[in-house]
Symmetry: C2
Subunit: 383 residues, 2 copies
């Protein structure tokens, strides 16, 4: 992992990150394969879209199918037939948002499964072990992700636990790597700490200082995109980013929209993920170079042009708005795949365009040009 | 269209059928793209599966998106991006099974849409016109499809109307072809009459004689697979098939299962269609060379072998039972596509194997060998 380039005129930068399953350049958008599948999309589709790294979820895969089953299949790559990089989210967010009757103690968290109500106990050490069973390329630590809004006291307590768990995670990680005899650095997973602290600058600063005192390979910024106003997100990032060293990748969790990718990268973010492009696709909401398009709106019924005239993806080369409108109105399963394919292609291509803008020192011009067109378009509310 | 081969030892036969979109050999299984999409499957998938001819439904496409929209898109092939053959079902079956408050008169049928209750009127002439808008390769006549069981009187009345409508359909077809200036036989659609008569031999015989007096390119056998016991289906076919001439393709509508394909082809059937393989796939029910497999059964959770060890399809080359079991249990949309792909590949490959058995005069041995293995396996009820 090394910094390849840093634009002179802004905080934007590109890195090359190397994992056991290849290299990829940042900034990167990672499609979300929560349960070892990006919804409605195949791994062949993901290769065609040029996805370099997927995000899978340790909490979900632990509950179903169980990490033992994935371990028996020789790990997650083999299980789902994906030979590029995988980052696993620790599940902190899911434990706090999906599960019932959770009880957080210093040792770890006890919760009931959102599937069947069965009781489970996760510790920082166990989450590292589960990720070793999954065999993912980038691991994350168990954290406590506070909601928004959140009283200072609650945020401080979440921070305190996340800090203690980060210490234990690094120890468990080192022990696991030692025991696994992964002696070459190339075959070892990377490990990212998760930075919490809600919207409180001093808590975020403390968290950053602590994480940087540990040998993490990268910093995941959690606790944003949890319902706070967007200005708040950028305000927190503006305060936080100068504290982070240049040589560690910065992963902003759960972001998102084209406009947010520009804002995040402008502030020095290297990696993002979000279910947004696929979820929106399943709701008929499509991104195009001309702006947002709601496929169910009446004019598209008779429109034989592609979703996006400037897009070169398989769907735009092959199928018309009229056909996609028909499929979507019929709730044909194919429509979910085709719209998801296009939306993911759009965001990944957007990140490649942003990379190129950084390379050519034209980030700000390109950002303005993109947003001028994209944000002027129709909204996604039905016409 | 010509008979290429007829096995000496049985009624089995293979034909080559030529349409405006290419040639295909029979016996053939046609996947069902009711609403211009085979459920969960893309047209690229269908090409890979080697589907040669799809079935689409005039009734469904008339109601949604409307044949005007498909005509504006340059026809169904262009609309859905499919360059091989398409047969369109007239919609007789759907009018009688899906729509409400239908009223059948000599002129045609008035019914309310199953989508929005709007009132529509279909006549034999209109159904021909709609198919000319769709631009499908094989057209069928509007018919009256009686249910099972069905009193003789009702069956006779359905027969009477179907006969009168066949006469009018042929006239409308000739007029349409004349007006469309499709002067070469190669670019003209084929037209099939639909043979009704429920389970009454004399009605079926009358219907056959009448249809054969008209210049139909092929005979669609309707009113079977509507709930009657299988022995009844074969009994009707056994009586009917000797009445049909050798030089016209025989299309048995709505069949089906692997065992039914063998039985139908043995009796001289050339073409079949059914939603069964894709609907079953969406219910986790998979066909394999070893028999039926219900993907949700417990042993498959940890089974890293392919769905069918003797299958060479994309899904079997790529994904394991364990992964497919996981996807299905998670209700991931990808599971519907993968299981549908395999099931369709299985039936189309089975028909190609049947063709080869006919070519090599080994139909009966191959049929026994197949059924011995296939029928001995587990059933699809959960274990």
């Amino acid at each position: 992992m090394k910094i390849k380039d840093r634009s002179a005129k802004s905080e934007t930068r590109t890195l090359t990150i190397k994992t056991a399953h290849g290299r990829f350049r940042t900034p990167i958008f990672m499609p979300v394969a929560t349960q070892a599948s990006v919804k409605a999309i195949s791994q062949e589709d993901l290769r065609e879209i040029q996805a370099d790294c997927l995000l899978a979820n340790t909490y979900h895969l632990y509950l179903r199918p169980g990490t033992d089953i994935i371990q028996e299949a020789d790990g997650l790559h083999s299980f789902m037939n994906w030979d590029r990089s995988i980052l696993t989210d620790s599940g902190g967010y899911q434990v706090f948002s999906l599960s019932h009757l959770r009880k957080i103690e210093d040792g770890g968290v006890t919760f009931k499964s959102h599937h069947d109500g069965s009781t489970h106990h996760l510790t920082p050490e166990k989450v590292i072990e589960l990720q070793s069973h999954l065999g993912s390329d980038i691991w994350t630590c168990l954290d406590v992700c506070p909601p928004y809004p959140c009283e200072r006291e609650q945020a401080a307590e979440a921070r305190r636990l996340t800090k203690s768990w980060a210490n234990r995670s690094i120890k468990a990680y080192n022990k696991t790597i030692f025991n696994s005899q992964l002696t070459t650095r190339n075959s070892q997973p990377l490990i990212f700490g998760i930075l919490q602290g809600s919207v409180y600058p001093d808590l975020r600063r403390e968290a950053a200082e602590h994480l940087l005192s540990l040998p993490f390979d990268g910093i995941a910024i959690g606790g944003l995109s949890v319902g706070e106003p967007k200005e708040k997100t950028w305000e927190v990032l503006d305060e936080l980013m100068p504290l982070l060293p240049e040589d560690k990748p910065r992963y902003l969790m759960g972001v998102g929209t084209p406009e947010d990718l520009w804002e995040a990268v402008e502030r020095g973010v290297d990696m993002t993920d979000c279910v947004w492009p696929t979820r929106n696709a399943r709701n008929g909401q499509v991104m195009t170079s001309q702006g947002k398009l709601y496929i169910k709106n009446a004019p598209y019924r008779k429109d034989n042009s592609p979703l996006d005239p400037n897009c070169n993806c398989w769907v735009c080369r092959t199928y018309s708005r009229a056909y996609l409108s028909h499929l979507y109105r019929c709730r044909e399963l194919l429509s979910y795949r085709l719209l998801s394919f296009h939306n993911l292609h759009f965001l990944i291509q957007l990140m490649k365009n942003i990379q190129m803008a950084i390379d050519t020192d034209t980030f700000h011009e390109k950002k303005s040009a993109f947003l001028n067109t994209y944000l002027k378009s129709e909204t996604w509310t039905p016409a």
